[in-house]
Subunit: 281 residues, 2 copies
């Protein structure tokens, strides 16, 4: 496994693989890798000839006051996980190599970014789409792997890829959970033991949502029940709990069968998100 | 020469060339081809193995009230010129193939787009950068050719390519002029015979700017003289006449040697632009 910090050299390494006729995968990450990231690298390993992981804590997707400074940096452990999962190349740029002082270009997705995470984290998604476009241009992949945990993010990236005609496919992989149901997240390590227990409310709300959907409940009723669960859970401050169209993130049409339940909440200072696809009856 | 309207099929055709080890050039145009465009295709032919020209009158770079509807469409003549100049492939998409109904992604360059053309043509450059990013993704070139006539445009595209790490090089080719000095433009055909004569004032102002620069005049004095010439030319309504830093388009620093003189004016209903690099003494 090669570890490379130069964008130009990374592109050249990938192009050598491509000239050999190989299919290229990229798995963009901010490091602090957990079993969720590992599952993305493993899926890429399964489906492509050359697997590139990227590790870059992107400053432009953190809003002022968010946890950019204290975001966990665990490079040595990350590289070991990348290698064990089968990555061929890990791209680990410095911030100065990614953003020139006079940089002034942004990739903006206008509608999908207005709601949910976009409403709670101003400018977050502009930072995400811009850095992902850059990473796509540096690694020139055939397939790019993202986790369903960041449901809105993968939807926005799919929109960008379609709208701008990127010649690649987005693959979304299932949420990986702790044995008790908490969705894997680099931010889980911020949680104290008691917060860790309190954070299970998110998964409980989604599990109940799935039960209600199977019993034939409406989107509105499911949403109300999730809000009830999160609103009364000790130590949990909900940001949102919604059941929406899984493509537009807007209120589902009356006859819609596939929707997504999305929740976001603070447990202490830690902001957690989770989601679940639902089939309405 | 192949003519192809499908984005997916165009990408596939270009990729076949790339798999053969060829270097790819793209020459993006809005059709209504003249000797300026031909010089771009010829330069590309000289330097690359596979030359792709694109012909697409991009609606999103026309502001409301501009000449999108009446912009000249001369496809048959354009294709003949492409073939004569040595293009291998011409990409001629329909608008519906370039913009899905739910498209919502824009590539925005924030600073260079605020002045000059950007100030006079709101949203114009957002349309340009977005469609050029799309064309780059569809044709995946090693080099892309633009004319110096649209000086600000090529600067903005260079900025976008650098900021977003596109793996390609921008080549800017010299302005091609009519024998009497008028810069070639698809919009010149809008001019009546008398407007055609009046339009020479733009080139006269720039020629005088070049003389003054050689004589040691300051940027400020040159600018004033150009405004005098354009301001008193019959039938010419100047939008701007400036001498600015050739990289930032801002007022040149006192000791700066290479600057650019840029002019824009209306002759009748037709808006014309021109420019000239100056070496100050």
């Amino acid at each position: 496994m090669i570890v490379e910090s130069s964008p130009a050299r990374t592109r050249e390494l990938v192009r050598e693989h491509r000239r050999g006729g190989q299919h290229i995968a990229v798995v963009p990450t901010m490091g602090a890798l957990h079993a969720g990231h590992v599952s993305l690298i493993e899926a890429a390993r399964e489906e492509c000839d050359c697997v590139v992981a990227t590790i870059f804590v992107n400053p432009t997707q953190f809003a002022p006051g968010e946890d950019f400074e204290k975001y966990p940096r665990t490079l040595e452990d990350d590289l070991a996980r990348c290698e064990a999962a089968g990555a061929d190349l890990v791209f680990t740029p410095q911030t100065s190599a990614m953003y020139a002082d006079d940089a002034q270009t942004t990739v903006v997705v206008s509608e999908l970014t207005k709601v949910l995470e976009g409403a709670h984290r101003p400018s977050h998604f502009d930072g995400v789409t811009t850095v992902v476009a850059k990473l796509f241009h540096i690694t020139e992949p055939d397939r790019a792997y993202f986790g369903q945990k960041d449901f809105q993010q993968q939807l926005i990236i799919r929109q960008m890829v379609g709208d701008l005609d990127f010649g690649l496919q987005i693959v979304t992989c299932p949420i990986i959970r702790e044995p008790d149901g908490l969705a894997m997240s680099s931010r889980n390590r911020y949680l104290s033991a008691s917060q860790r227990r309190q954070s299970l409310a998110l998964h409980q709300a989604l599990t109940r949502a799935d039960e209600l959907a199977r019993e034939g409940a409406s989107a509105g009723d499911i949403q109300q029940e999730m809000r009830q669960i999160l609103g009364t859970a000790p130590g949990v401050k909900p940001d949102y709990a919604v059941v929406v169209d899984a493509t537009t993130l807007l209120e589902p049409a009356g006859d819609q069968k596939t929707v997504v339940a999305l929740v976001a909440a603070r447990v202490g200072d830690t902001r957690l998100i989770d989601n679940q696809i639902l089939q309405l009856r």
